[in-house]
Symmetry: C2
Subunit: 306 residues, 2 copies
């Protein structure tokens, strides 16, 4: 008494009703890779259940200031890859990296030479010295540089409860020749949040959560492609084992100690602002691509891909 009746062939479903061709491409590619992943690994139901629980927890535990899916993407190197794909840099230009979670738009504009660190900020005195040039080596006029960084305790202003004013943060208006400088605090290393699913993944991988010390920069100038990047001091620990794969060889800088009080004064420091008898001097030359150069680069890349 077997009445199994194979009268219909199910699954004539296709995704051809998707109107947006880009969405169709993304969904088809995603489904194809998910299925291949499951087949390759013979993913079983118990493992799938654990993944469902893990992703559900990631959603539940995400807040406005700590998104676990961003952390998971960071830890798997996907964020760094997406940044590379989104912001391809023609040869000779400064490499980009992700803005991270602590960028705040509309930071207060300050002139070049200003101090970004309020009196009493924890950490050692630092003098940052920069140029903004194009690929021909010419200083760029009209450049503005958003800077944001942690203090000497590895903490951003927005992480302190009740913060209302910007600290270790500001939008510097460069000189007409593209040079700029600011006084501040040498940043120190800090860990990414590891109290949720992202931290669990790091622990499973036997990896630590500590990012190398760094300063974030976002540069813009009329006629040039925006650049979001970060610089790392070569003395920082964790440079080779960044949990989010954001360090770039080209972005690691030798920061030097200045022990001459006369030079501190020339930089704008008062003696009492300098602890441990030194000011850290950090210099870097940013190179921006023009909008036309980036367009041309993208065209070439798309052509090479075909």
């Amino acid at each position: 008494m077997n009445f199994s009746c194979p009268i219909l062939a199910p699954h004539t479903i296709s995704n051809s009703l998707v109107k947006d061709p880009r969405k169709l491409q993304l969904i088809n590619a995603l489904v194809s890779h998910l299925h291949t992943f499951a087949r390759e690994t013979s993913l079983d139901h118990a493992e799938w259940t654990k993944v469902v629980e893990f992703l559900t927890r990631a959603g539940k535990e995400s807040t406005d200031y700590k998104n676990e899916f961003i952390l998971l993407s960071d830890i798997m190197g996907l964020s760094a890859l997406v940044d590379e794909l989104t912001h391809p840099k023609p040869a000779g230009c400064t490499d980009s990296c992700e803005a991270g979670p602590f960028y705040v738009p509309n930071a207060p504009e300050v002139p070049s030479g200003a101090s970004l660190a309020k009196v009493g900020t924890t950490g050692e005195a630092m003098f940052f010295n920069g140029t903004v040039k194009n690929t021909k080596g010419q200083g760029i006029r009209g450049a503005k540089i958003d800077v944001w960084q942690a203090d000497g305790d590895g903490i951003y202003d927005v992480q302190y409860p009740g913060t209302t004013e910007a600290n270790d943060r500001g939008k510097i208006v460069a000189e007409d020749d593209g040079t700029f400088c600011y006084r501040g605090i040498l940043p120190t290393a800090y860990p990414i949040p590891s109290d949720g699913p992202g931290g669990d993944l790091l622990r499973t991988l036997g990896r630590h959560p500590h990012r190398a010390a760094h300063i974030h920069f976002m540069l813009n100038a009329p006629g040039y492609d925006d650049l979001t990047t970060a610089l790392y001091p070569s003395h920082s620990p964790f440079l080779g084992t960044d949990p989010v794969f954001a360090t770039r060889k080209s972005l690691i800088c030798q920061v030097v100690e200045e022990r001459d009080p006369k030079r501190w004064e020339a930089m704008g420091f008062k003696n009492r602002e300098v602890t441990r008898g030194r000011v850290w001097v950090w210099s870097f030359g940013f190179v921006l691509a023009s909008v036309e150069e980036v367009e041309e680069f993208k065209r070439q890349r798309a052509k090479a891909k075909l």
Copy 2:
């Protein structure tokens, strides 16, 4: 004044510290496919941000009774694939499919021939007639069959507020020769939840949320591999366009109308229980694999894969 100092080569990170070889395999395969997906599609930062927001919403909107990640997996055909990979069936055995969200363990045991639908349950009378056999065609002794299904309104007992007693649900103890039957209600089609990210994906794909009508079964017998499956009546709409890819040609059954009141009585129905002058008669022969057959089948499959 370019002080970019390429003194360190970052990213010497590997996943080789993962202790569990299976976890290492899964994580490496997942990362590899995610990266290939991003490269193939040139995934950009704006698209990545939308995916992050979508996944975060899926986590936030998931409840104990509606998990959006399960729905997304279902809609992308991943759940059906994982079921196939987890429960490979030797030739001649009944195909399996996912239990879905409405399975409740420890349903009340009832003898074969009982009614699973309380008086007053919406829907048309149905008589289900089954056999549980092995691959040699012999009736299996000691089989128990968990049954759960929606009523004539497409609603499960647990979906009614304040439900305390099982309805359209029960664990049937088969006869010693492996036959069993029960009286109940013909199930009707109902949609999967579409008020969250899963529903958004369906709409993007131009697909509907309606599952074909079905009855869930979970069979177990000493010495045999458990079987979780579902059967579909051939008269149901949506059979070829199941949103979760769970219908199988082999699980679609021709359900026949019985219009003879004498036969209704023989099945155990009272005349007043029969509306529209008919009882739907649904018959199916389940075939279970023995534990040894499944082990042997898995060994063969693993060998073929190598």
